[in-house]
Amino acid sequence: MPASLDMKILVVDDHESMRKIEKQILNDLGYKNVDMADDGTTAWDLLQKSTYDFVISDWNMPQMEGIDLLKKIRADARIGKTPVLLVTAESKKEKIVEAAQAGVNDYVVKPFNAEILSAKISRIFP
């Protein structure tokens, strides 16, 4: 499914600055329908209440980490197929393998730029 500029995106990161940066980049790319959550638990609550077309999540967060959020999403019958992009400072090979095994759609290592995020979105929504 190609990326629609109207798609509803959930950005999950415990750092407010990162949430703002990601939202700003998404807005610049034309995606205006962006919600934000500051950890996995809050994100999970939002995912239960609403339907999102795309989730962009950090890995290291309090309460519930990004990898656990990904596993919960994949285990859920209703939202299990929601595309998930992990944006994280975790660049160790085993972490990337773990994310791949958990069913992540793609992986961005911080720091990143708008071009990288745009390319990943295009890859996930060809």
Partner: protein, 262 residues
Amino acid sequence: MNTDDNTRAIHQIMESIKLDGFKEKTDQLLADLESNDIENALKSINELNDLNSRNFYSIIGKLTRGLHNAVSDLSIPSSENQLLNDRTRVDLNYVISLTDEAAQKTLDISERAKMQTQRTLENSQAQVNLIESHLSENQVDETTSKLMRQLVTLSENSVKQIHTINSDISDIVVAQNFQDIASQSLTKSLNIIKEVESSLISLTQYANLLSKLAQFSNKEVSDVGSEDSENLKTNIGQFKGLSEPEHLNQDQVDDLLSSLGF
């Protein structure tokens, strides 16, 4: 001490690690063995072992002091707190929160700037539309027409410049994501340093207690008085305490290292 001083101090510690008396003891051991004096050879071996242990714990103690001083100097003075108390110091977490605040401020200003440029962009575009609409709907003389065309060109140039400014603001925003990774790296480094320091302090405490207990090892049962017995109990009690993680504050660490001669 600044970072360079700390580095020099640690180098000095490493350079000072000389096994004082080691050569004399090994020479003595060789002489004992050559003369088939097994009793004295065994004594020399024990002395070498003692020397080795003393040097080892001495090195650990000096390194602990060096690392402890280096960790203390990682802290930076807070200008706000200094007004209240010159001795108040805060640690790297303060640096992390400061850089985070700076990033937030940059992001907030960037957001406001983007809103302003967006409004300016819309105004410039509206100005171009108005002029073009006026030119197409009304008869104007050549001079006025030329002037209006120049105004349109200027407005169009402004629109291009605003797009460039917007792009630059976006780059400023994106550049802030280095703050996040820097903060995570600093936090991880700080935790590792604290763990190493804590382990070295525990090892120093252990060495100190071993040394206290060693004074009883050469005594006969009849030589151990009631005072010795109490001391022994106290020291054993401290050993049991070491099996659980002990969190010392800054002053307690300083006191411990000073009491051990470091």
